[in-house]
Structure formats: C-alpha cells, structure tokens
C-alpha cells in the first residue's frame, strides 16, 4: 500500500483555492482549525504565479510582478480549469498573462524557463504548480509531508472541473479526499467552534469575492446541511469596489496634474493604481480613513491622496446595494422569506468592509444575525471561513479509506427525503383560544430524524391533550407589519428559541390544520413538564412517545406513512 493510500500515513490539510486568493489550514490536536501562513507570512496567498528568468514566484511576490512583468504573470485562473476556451470569461486576466486556446483547453503563453522562450502552459499545469507551492508551504509549516487534502470549490463547479482539479492536485502530490462546497465549509467553520450551539436554522452564506460573488441558502438541521438555493454573480465583485476607488483616484490625479494624463490608460500605471486601490480598500475596512500613495503613477508624477470611509461608501453605495439585492434574491429563489433566515454568514475578503455587512443587515429583519467582522465580535475572519471548514472536514475523514469516503458521498447516501412541512404540537396561549403551533421538527429536515421537546403544562397539572400537527410551508406574501409584530411577540415569549421564523409560519399552518394525532397524558403533577419525542423515518412513519418528565409510563403512538394510508383525508 502506497503511503498516499494508507490512511495511517496521511497528513491532510484543508485547501481553499480561490480565483484571487488561496489559503491552507490544518486541524490541531485539540480539533481547532488553524490557517497556515506561507513563507512570506501570508495567510491569504494570492493565486498568482510569475516567472522571472525561469524562476517561479508565487503568492504575494508574484502579485508584485503584475506591475513590471504582467505578461509573464498568471492570475485568476481557477475558473478556467476544466473548461473549454469558448466558455471562459477572460476579463479578470486583462492585466496579466492572457489565456489562449490550447487544444480544447485553456493555456497561457509565458516564458517560464531560463531560455526565455514562450511556452504554452495549460491551466491544469499552472494549477498543479500553484497547488504544489501550497503543499510545500504547508509541509514546511507542519514539518510533515502533506499528501492529501480537502479542497473547497464553488457550488457550481462542474464534474469536469472537479475532475481536472483532482488530476492537477494528484500531479502536485496531493490526494484529494473530498471536494466540499465553499458555503457549506463556511457554515461548518462556524458550527465547529466549541461554543457553537446545535440549532435548526437556515443560513445564508454570502461570499463577496474578488472576481465573483456567490450566495447560498443552506438549511442546517441538527448539523446536517442542505443547500436550498444558490446564486452566482460575476458582475458584483470586489473588483468593482476597486474600480470605484481607481476611478476616484484617477480623477483626483488628473485634477491635480493636468499634464500627467489618465493613469488608467497606461498599463503599468493601471497596475500600480489597482494594487494600491486594493490596499486602500483593505485599509478602509479597518480605519476610518486611508492614504493612497503611488510613486510615479503616471508621467513620472508621484501621487498621494487621502480618502475617508464615508466618501468611499458613498462612491460604492450602488455596489453594496447590488450585493444586498443579490443576497435577498437568493432567499427569494429558495422560496423563503427574509424572516426565515437565522444567520447570514459573510465570507470573502470584501466582507471586511463594514458597509457590506450593514447593507446586508438592512435587508434582513433584526432577528437575523449577520456574521461579519464589523457586526459581530465573535465572527471568524471571512477570508478563512472556507479553508477552516475544509481543514475540519479533512481531520474528520482523513483516517477513512478513499473508498469509504466515496461510498459515503454517494447519492445513495446523500439523497434523502426532506420534510416538506414542519411538525409540531399545539399549545395554548392567552389570546389564542384555539392554540398555537410549536414546531418540533422544522421543514426541510432530512429524514430520518429524531427530536425531543419539553413542553410546559397548565399550572394546576391534571390531564392534558397533546395534538401533533403539521405546519404548512407555504410562504404567502403578507403585510410586513403583522409579520414583524408576530416575530416580535414570539421572541418575547421564548427568547431562547432560535427559530423565530417558525412561529411566524405557525399562524398560517395552524389554520390549515393538518392534525396528525392526538394523545392524552393524565394525572400530571403540578408544574410538571411533558417530554415529546418524535422519530420520523425515511418512509415517513412517525413514531412518537409522550411522557411526563420524571414520571412513569407514558403514551406511545405510531403513524404510518402516506403511502399505506388512504389519501382521502388529505
């Protein structure tokens, strides 16, 4: 058995391979994910390779070459992998080596040897070189030979792309244990924190990256994730924020130096401008003002300027709004309401910008938690979310055989029936004479599922009726006022309940009134609580147990699935 195949010999890391930046992480003995810095001390390693007289530069060093050595510098190549030339968008590579057609794939004409001869290097080869450098950095850091990894990919990465990436990784000496999608990795990174509570929730992961934005709506049910909807946008991106700053400073420059000309019209000036604007953007995420300073920007003229955050936010407001729209659009696509969303996780470097977070927060009700550095002090660095998730997944599966992993990720296992409606009990409250629906199992919960609930009883004890019913998941467009009020009422009632949105739904579903069963518990003590355990099988059989906490006996009941039942009652 070769060392790569032997799970005992495996040293696995998580790799996040992005268009603009890549990062690598590993899981410590205590199960904490830690992001690895490369030789330059970067935890965000630019996915850029540059060649100077046959010497390969990588990461930050290669990025610096974009100014002087643009044609020999390959950047933003991730999305080209495994695609045909006719289906790629080469615009991000405008200021670096341009992609060219090579057989059916994409290549770059670069002088990567000391002979200074132009070679067509395919994007797969570039990826291999990039991954090899990442692997070496990780190996150096860990002092162990890294030979396998979990790699994150966007949700819309096709099988061909995964295949190409797998091959490239293999050539770089990395055995890919699993590809996991970026948004799910981000959710995992948050859920793997030791203080994280397991809760049924719907999470939106919004990734505002350099060249593209991806939004995914994910249902998290007892730690199992289901992607409900995704949206990808190649227009709304961090580049656009850079562009805003570039335009701004170019205008300032031209105003100051009439003779200098437009720095955007000269390649080298443009590259300088772009690099500095990215730095300014990052500085503005931390401080309230930032300095822009470039030597010999254009026409041999140095240029220095200052910009404050509000100015920047004003200039880029339309892009922030577009991003917020994109997020809400994804929620609509999942046929959900913003009230359904418990958390919004902001990922990607541009999530550091406070305005991004506030724009998203404004699009959602207050009950929704936006996890970004500016809104939550406990937020994880948005750049590191997916790589942390990958590292955690790598530590979970590294001792499994590859075949085992394959079998576990097989559709036979992953395709699961999901509850179309929430299941809960009816309680009474002061103003509702008929009862209030309380969800025990949420909609979109993968089956089989087991849940328990503790329910209060009337103060005086005695006999109680437990009605099990279904809450319909039809989101009707209702007036916003009653909706908000409803949500507020609920949060007042039980502040520890995570799923405020479910109470909002309960009003509607309760009126639909799909009662599943009734059960009675007699002779309860004063102030006793009732424990309800619901087991729903993959065949939609419901097995429920009702008993008094601390009491003896209880009531058991079995509901058979719809197929064996006559459909007349529905």
């Amino acid at each position: 058995m070769s060392p790569e195949k032997d799970p005992a010999q495996r040293v696995a890391i998580g790799i996040s391979f992005g268009n603009s930046y890549s990062s690598i992480a590993f899981t410590t003995g205590e199960g904490k994910a830690e992001v690895i810095a490369n030789e330059d001390g970067d935890r965000q390693i630019p996915s850029i390779l540059s060649y100077v007289e046959g010497e390969e530069l990588h990461g930050g060093q290669a990025k610096a070459q974009l100014v002087r050595n643009a044609t020999n510098t390959v950047a933003y190549f991730r999305d080209f992998l495994g695609k045909e030339f006719k289906s790629i968008d080469p615009s991000p590579c405008h200021q670096s080596a341009h992609p060219v057609q090579h057989d059916s794939t994409v290549a770059f004409n670069i002088r990567d040897t000391p002979e200074e001869k132009e070679n067509a290097v395919t994007v797969a080869d570039i990826t291999t070189r990039h991954l090899k450098r990442l692997r070496i950095s990780a190996s150096d850091y860990l002092g162990k030979h890294v030979n396998s990894a979990v790699i994150t990919v966007p949700t819309n990465f096709s099988d061909a792309q995964k295949d190409a990436l797998n091959k490239a990784a293999k050539a770089a000496g990395i055995e890919v244990l699993q590809f996991i999608s970026e948004p799910v990795a981000a959710v995992l990174a948050y859920d793997a924190r030791p203080d994280a509570k397991q809760a049924d929730k719907i999470v939106v992961v919004a990734d505002l990256g350099g060249t593209r934005s991806d939004v995914a709506v994910i249902a998290s049910r007892g730690g199992i994730y289901t992607v409900l909807a995704t949206i990808h946008d190649y227009e709304v991106s961090g580049f656009q924020l850079d562009q805003v700053l570039m335009d701004h400073f170019s205008k300032e420059f031209m105003k100051k130096h009439k003779t200098g000309g437009d720095p955007r019209e000269n390649d080298r000036s443009l590259a300088k401008l772009k690099l500095e604007c990215e730095a300014v953007k990052k500085a503005l995420s931390i401080g309230s003002s930032a300095n822009f300073s470039v030597e010999s920007l254009a026409g041999g003229l140095d240029f220095t300027a200052t910009i404050n955050r509000s100015r920047y936010e004003l200039l880029a407001s339309k892009h922030f709004a577009a991003f917020a729209r994109l997020v809400t659009h994804a929620v609509e696509k999942a046929q959900l309401d913003p009230l359904d969303i418990s958390e919004v996780i902001l990922a990607g470097g541009n999530s550091h910008t406070p305005k991004t977070a506030s724009a998203v927060q404004n699009a959602f009700p207050e009950s929704t938690k936006v996890l970004a550095p500016s809104t939550s002090t406990t937020a994880i660095n948005p750049n590191e979310l997916s790589v942390r998730g990958a590292a955690i997944q790598a530590s979970l599966i590294q001792e499994f055989e590859l075949e085992d992993i394959e079998q576990s990720t097989h559709p036979m296992v992953t395709v699961t029936p999901h509850l179309s409606h929430a299941v809960g009990v009816l309680c009474i409250s002061g103003d509702e004479s008929t009862g209030v629906f309380h969800a025990i199992v949420d909609a979109e919960t993968p089956l089989p599922v087991r849940r328990t609930a503790l329910i209060a009883t009337p103060r005086e004890g005695g006999d109680v009726l437990i009605k099990l019913c279904e809450g319909a998941r039809h989101i009707k467009v209702t007036k916003p006022e009653p909706k908000a009020k409803q949500a507020k009422d609920d949060s007042d009632d039980d502040s520890d309940d995570e799923s405020d949105d479910e109470e909002e739904l309960r009003e509607k579903t309760w009126k639909v009134g799909k009662v599943l069963s009734e059960a009675a518990l007699r002779g309860l003590k004063k102030g006793a609580k009732v424990e309800v355990q619901i087991n729903i099988g993959a065949d939609l059989n419901v097995n429920c147990i009702f008993r008094e906490v601390g009491g003896k006996g209880g009531v058991r009941g079995l509901l058979s699935g719809p197929k064996s039942q006559q459909n007349g009652s529905a």
Partner: protein, 444 residues
C-alpha cells in the same frame, strides 16, 4: 441535539376525550421532497454511518458508545502482563545477571521488539503488584527479592546501552536453525525466515531484507544473501564479563581480569561471526531458489548456444546452396556463349564468302563494261585505272552496300548500263563523303 423547550402550556384534556391507549392517529405526514444533503461535517458522517449500516438512531448511539468503550479498554489492556512462573518469584536479586529481564517484566512476547513505553508500562504494572509494602500490608513475610529483580530488570532494559548488551546474549530470543532434514520437508521459507528474522535484530542497518518465498526475484535473493554475507552486527558480549574487582584491591589482578574479559569478548565475537557465516552458508546450500536460478541460467546459456549452432548450420547450408546455384548458372552461361560464338563465326564466314563472291561479280561487271571504255578494246592504262577505281570503291563500301551494288549489277550485260550503275555508286559515295571528288576518275 438539545431538545426543543416550549414554555407555552399544553391544553387541558377536553371532557369525554378517549382513545385507544390514550392515543389517536388522525392524519399522516405530507410527502417529502428529495434533496441532496451536503456530505460535510461530523453529523453528516453519523448520518452516513446510520444509513449505510441501516441503523436507527438508538442503535447507532449504542454501537458507537460500545465501540468507544472498547477502545479505552484496548488501550489499557495493551500490555497484558504474563502470568509469573512461581520459580521466578523465588529468585534472588543477587543473581540478576542470570535472570530473564523480559520474563520478570512479563513482556516475553515482545522481547527485543518492546518499546521503551511498553517497558515502562510493564514495570509500572509489576511494581503495583509486587511492591513490598503491599505484601507487608497483606500480612505476607517481608520479602522484597522479586521486587528487587523487577527494579534490576527495568534498570537494565531502560538503559539503551545495557539493554543492547543484554539483548546480545538473550538466548531466549534466538531461533535455532532447522536441521537439513526439517528443511527438506518443504517449509524452508517458514523455518529459515524465522531464523533470519531473529538474527536480523543484531543488524546495524535496518530494515533487514526478508528471506522471501519461492516467488522472489533473483535480485531480491541475491540482495538477501549479499546482505547476510556482509552482515554488520552490533552484538557485544560485555554482559557475560567476569566481575572486575574493585580497583583498590589489587591493580594487577584487576588488569588481569579486564584483559581476560577483553579476550573473551573478542573470542565470542569471532565465534559469533563464524556461526552466522555457517548459518548463511547452510541456508544458501538448502535454498531451492539458488538451484533454480542456476538451472535457469544454464538452460538459458544452453539455449543460446544451441540457437547459435543452429544458426551457423543454417547459414552454412544456405551458403552451399547459393554456391551450387551460382556454379550451375555459370556453366549454362558458358555453354550458351560458346554456341553463340560458333553461330557468329559461321555467319561471319558466310558473309566473307558472300563479299568475296560479290567482289568477283563487281570486278566481272567491270570487265563486262569493257573497263568503262567506250568502243574497241580498252587500253592497258584504262583497264588498270578502271580496276584500281573499282577496287577503291569496294574498299570504301561495306558488305551490305556491296551486296546492293551486286544486286544492281546482276543481269546487266550492257556496258553502258553497268557504267551507269558504277557512276551512280560513285556519285552516292561522293555525296556520302566517303569518296573524294576526283577519285575514281575512270568513272567520271
């Protein structure tokens, strides 16, 4: 997953509600939608485990719990102490040199393979069992001899240098080489493999190549024997040294003992090297593979030689055949040439005769034409000139032309006609440039 807490109270049971065992099934769940769950995270792994092994939640909980418990037990039971031999328990600590340290610690199944950690753990376990204070508390006699043995064993085994010295003479770890008879029963690889494995513990270079089996390649086998013939051993025999007396007793005595020890060690080392050499020789002699390789080599050589001979024979035969063919062809060629030559000779002679005859005819014709003299007998000069000219013409023309000329002249008796023919001929020859103007004047 923490259970859901519902603080709203449940409704009171209405009057007259009744159900079988207090439960009434009314509706059923609506149809479920199939979705892909993301294969990520610890909870998914649990889900996959349940689904693949078709377990329910409670079953899975139980099995997982069981397997976790087992793991802990295994770790604990990793160093099973072997039962002590009652004889061993009565050992005197003084006699530590002759005790089996591994047996004392209860790790005879590991011996030289035991790790430091295993030795430590084994020691701890033995100490817990045989501590003199415990024995005293149990009311047994004050007997700490075996405890001292344990301490001594740990002392030796936990020091790498002293452990090597002990391992060098640990005969219990040796495997006796099988006899020839045993080997010939057919389990050469099993029997000798154990021997070499045991001997391999003395090698400075690790890992030691394995004996392999009947399918091993020639390179492997050669490498194996080369390794054993160049064996680099760390085996020392210091452990068997005689005790050196204290240096304050007698210096000479001490030096004498030291020298004796030195010599004894050297002798034992030499003996050991010779023993190992003989062992490898024996194994090599019994190794079927060596014979097979030799046979294969011989067969290969023979095959090559036979092939070569056959090739040579074939070549010689071919050459002889070729030669024969060539000779035959040559003879045929010669015969044909001879025949051709004879035919040509005859033709030539015939042509010569014909030319002679033609010349005669031509000359005769001149005579018939009265030597081109018109009227009366020709004077001698005319005759001479005419004959000379005709000879000249004959000399100039070849046989065919001569034949043509003869044909023209034949049947012509008239002197004028003949003269005309000759004139024409001269004319033709002059035109052809064979005859100069002015020659053959007699015909002009």
């Amino acid at each position: 997953m923490a259970s859901v807490q519902v603080s709203l109270p449940l409704p009171v049971l209405p009057e007259g509600w009744a159900g079988e065992k207090d439960f009434k099934a009314i509706g059923h769940l609506s149809h479920a939608t199939d979705r892909n769950i993301e294969p990520v995270g610890p909870h998914f792994l649990a889900h996959a485990r349940r689904k693949r092994h078709k377990r329910t939640f409670s079953e899975d909980d139980r099995i997982q719990a069981q397997s976790n418990v087992k793991k802990v037990e295994d770790d604990d039971a990793g160093e099973i102490s072997e039962p002590e031999d009652p004889l061993m328990l009565q050992r005197e600590a003084k006699d530590w040199k002759n005790q089996d340290h591994y047996a004392v610690l209860g790790i005879t199944k590991y011996r030289w393979r035991a790790t430091e950690d295993q030795i430590k753990k084994a020691h701890r376990k033995k100490v817990l069992k045989h501590h003199p204070d415990k024995k005293a508390a149990a009311g047994q006699a004050q007997d700490d001899q075996f405890f001292k043995c344990i301490q001594k064993a740990t002392e030796v085994l936990s020091d790498p240098v002293r452990r090597r010295q002990y391992d060098s003479v640990d005969e219990a770890a040796d495997v006796e080489p099988p006899t020839k008879k045993e080997t010939q029963k057919g389990n050469f690889y099993k029997l000798w493999g154990r021997v070499f494995e045991a001997e391999g513990r003395f090698s400075k270079t690790q890992p030691v190549p394995k004996l392999g089996n009947e399918k091993s390649t020639k390179e492997d086998v050669e490498h194996f024997y080369n390794f054993w013939y160049n064996f680099d051993s760390w085996r020392t025999f210091e452990y068997l040294d005689e005790d050196v007396p204290d240096d304050n007793e007698n210096r000479d005595q001490k030096r004498h003992v030291e020298r004796k020890n030195q010599n004894a060690r050297r002798k034992k080392k030499t003996e050991d090297t010779a023993r190992l050499r003989k062992l490898v020789d024996d194994a090599l002699a019994l190794d079927e593979r060596i014979k097979q390789f030799r046979q294969a080599e011989n067969a290969q050589k023979n095959k090559r030689r036979l092939e070569k001979e056959a090739e040579q024979k074939r070549l010689a035969e071919e050459a002889a055949k070729q030669k024969e063919l060539e000779a035959k062809a040559k003879a045929e060629q010669e015969a044909a040439d001879k025949a051709n030559r004879e035919v040509a000779k005859k033709a030539k002679e015939a042509a010569k005769n014909a030319a002679k005859k033609n010349k005669r005819v031509v000359r005769g014709a001149v005579k018939d034409a009265n030597y081109f003299h018109s009227g009366g007998d020709a004077p001698a000069s005319q005759i001479d000139a005419a004959l000379n000219d005709v000879d000249h013409i004959i000399l100039k023309i070849d046989n065919e032309e001569l034949a043509a000329l003869t044909a023209k002249l034949s049947g012509k008796k008239n002197g004028g006609e003949i003269t005309q023919v000759f004139k024409d001929e001269v004319q033709r020859l002059v035109e052809a440039g064979k005859l100069k103007e002015g020659e053959a004047k007699s015909l002009a």
